[in-house]
Symmetry: D2
Subunit: 262 residues, 4 copies
């Protein structure tokens, strides 16, 4: 069964910056989509910030197995209701792949519970990504390392939670390192952060980057949504699995009324 | 040097429910504080929801090494600005211990990036907490397991991220299990979630619970705040550690203007 | 492409104990294999302790994608050379699923670097396995919990390393809990420990257990062996990726001669 | 109470190689000890491979809270009985800090359950260690990064298990990266691996390296030994915490006789 994949592009610098427009004449989202389509099992759509509800309507997300997110200049233009909706779909099992400057998106910071800060430099320097976890599905088919001759530098400390696993670590020409490929799960949803992707450089024309993205979509996909994870239900005493007697004092119904569990 | 500890109590059911008031005539926060004061190295203050800024002013937090948080009925009464302030202090290094129904507090859900749901039953049943990580500092001095004869049940799945380490797992009389002691780090701040503590039962009069809380404060304390973690600074090319030449295209200053990095 | 799966059975108590023989007239390994064969994509073979090299010849392992290991009474009868061979295949990418009393096998203890102790009781008591990680591939298609009416109890602390992820936690009738489904990676090889499976009870006739095992084989499979992970090669200065000059003092060739790196 | 710290040095190249002898006229172990003694709370002893039982007698280890291990040329000269003894003390709570080429020691490989391979180059190149986990106790008091002008290169993949936490990541002049500071727990014992320390360079004269080692000893220390973790005891049915009736078939005493649980 095909994996329904949605690429979300901010699509701002493509419209304003000549170099970015030349790199990605159809927009970054469409170039990312073309990398993904090299895997015949991925059914790939794209959408952008400029669409109604940024293209992330309830219906669109309900029909998405894995969402990719690239944003940079307009994080604060993303509506909070859409951010909440994306997070809720992740918690129920939608996969999410966050790209490059998406580390500062509301969606990623919200799911990490962290500021996701770092230090950075835009100088077209060489980045070399080392596979530190060669058995991980996201590293499948890659060489021991690969290089991006022109990239923006991101330096540690990257203030994100300790990941489930670290897949890539980057070396930068100017002397920094960065944990470039990190996996997480939030609720039932798999999340992968992948560092490269500065818009003024041709990163999404790189074959190894394409391989990583295809691997990541396959890894992140995990099947049906689990809506029950969004609830905190009461289990009545009479339905306890092992028979128990109710004992001790209870909160009154009125006291429970103030609680947020539902 | 003493560890400056602040106990935050919601202080709602103590004022409305006769049983809770009898259990905790001085409020739950003060009883928790009295458990902590058995460690002479802890300098313990308390505050409540009802105080201005819920007692979590910038000054109060700046003078806190470890914050304990108990809330249940009034999570949505906690001001978002205070929630943000608490999270920012955690990211910079303040320790945080979240108790029982605090799993649904805005602070905890925000730091976990997860709904932190579970299922529950208020029947005064027996809970038995097993130490699954006997080398962890939070388990120090505890027996192999300890029991709370009357507790609310919380059942899995608990939708929180995989922890750094699982310290306790609970057995419940009615047939459920729960990961009852979980550690996390967010930014530079240590976080410990500890499950027991339903307000209609005498949990905070239990000696083992006191031992866990004192251990947890000592574990969570990590020294000074690291304000630099709140920033994502640019490193100018001229200041690169290893000498590099600027290459390739750059975003214009105008393009950078829209970014949130600061 | 089918997943080449090998079930290793100790096959001792089936030959000596009437109840075990009645439970598993073809041996436990063959019953486990029949559960796996319900997944048409698994190509399943079996072997036992009694075969030459315990059926784990270099050729047999080289043709195995995922190995399942059930042992109990005869851990010390397993030849150290075979143990080493199995571990080396795991490090290069063979998946491994360790069942029940296999926690004390040389293979598992060797891969964990831990004694893998626990406490236990053989009383035919009820075990209830809760899914604590509902988004994990190994939990796919399972209910919120499932029960085994007759099982041996294993109690915490289970002295194994903190896992990558905890998938199941068990409740026992006699009052204990146990982390029953744990994932690890060693080198490029995925490892899953699954607790149930005492030989005097009909555990491997249970449908949910079958589902877990099939899920686990699919999860553990990761493709080709990575032989290069068994080496620690020197990278000559002249072949450094970034041009460097050799500086400082070096060990002589004679000094290097004593090292084990190769 | 002082932390009883034992520095184990292989003490081979100091005796054979002129440069090493000049770097460390009293042996590497004594120079490491002198760094540790800058913390008045550490009570530091040293021993070497050449001592009876390599200085790791039962009595010596029983009186050690944290052991540091530096070896390189003579890993295979370390007696297997001593290796087993060290591992058993770690499992019961002794802290262990493994230095540089100790990655290939029997003790470390045994505790990791992994080959702990890497690739390497001895060219006196620059290493820069970045703190990626600024809230970790082992990073306390360190700058954002520190440099060692002359070091041996170790490159990824480092075939060790995913750590509890990654504290340092190294940048190398020749283009490689390495996860240089990794934490683990095995049984009740804390383990820290720290990469730098090649014997032909003056690494153990560096102030930041000294700070890391002192921090690591303080972090790894966790108090008393837990001998019970070395056993897998039977819990008789009559002593079950919750009253249960024995049911179903059991293994005979004779069948149990073959098991290794004790």
């Amino acid at each position: 069964m095909p994996i329904r994949t949605l690429v979300w592009g901010e699509n701002v610098h493509e419209q304003k910056n000549k170099v970015v427009a030349e790199n990605y004449p159809d927009g970054m989202h469409n170039q990312i989509a073309s990398l993904l389509r090299q895997d015949a099992n991925l059914e790939v759509k794209t959408t952008t910030l400029q669409e109604p509800e940024h293209g992330c309507t309830e219906e669109a997300l309900a029909n998405t197995d894995v969402l990719l997110w690239w944003g940079h200049a307009a994080h604060d233009k993303v509506d909070d209701a859409v951010v909440k909706r994306v997070m809720e779909h992740v918690w129920q099992g939608m996969g999410l792949i966050v790209l490059h400057s998406g580390h500062h998106s509301k969606v990623f910071k919200g799911l990490m519970g962290s500021p996701a800060n770092l230090h950075w430099r835009e100088a077209g320097e060489r980045e070399r990504l080392w596979v530190v976890n060669p058995g991980h599905p996201i590293a499948k088919g890659l060489p021991a390392y690969f290089e991006l001759e022109y990239e923006e530098m991101y330096g540690e400390p990257f203030t994100v939670p300790e990941p489930l696993e670290t897949v890539f670590v980057s070396w930068f020409q100017g002397g920094e390192v960065f944990r470039s490929g990190l996996t997480y799960r939030r609720g039932a949803g798999n999340i992968f952060y992948f560092r490269p992707g500065h818009e003024t450089y041709p990163t999404y024309h790189d074959a190894n980057v394409g391989q990583v993205l295809r691997n990541a979509v396959n890894w992140a996909h995990q099947g049906d949504r689990q809506a029950h994870l969004m609830k905190a239900p009461n289990t009545p005493v009479a339905e306890a699995i092992e028979k128990i007697e109710e004992r001790g004092a209870k909160l009154s119904a009125a006291d429970h009324a103030g609680e947020v569990k539902s």
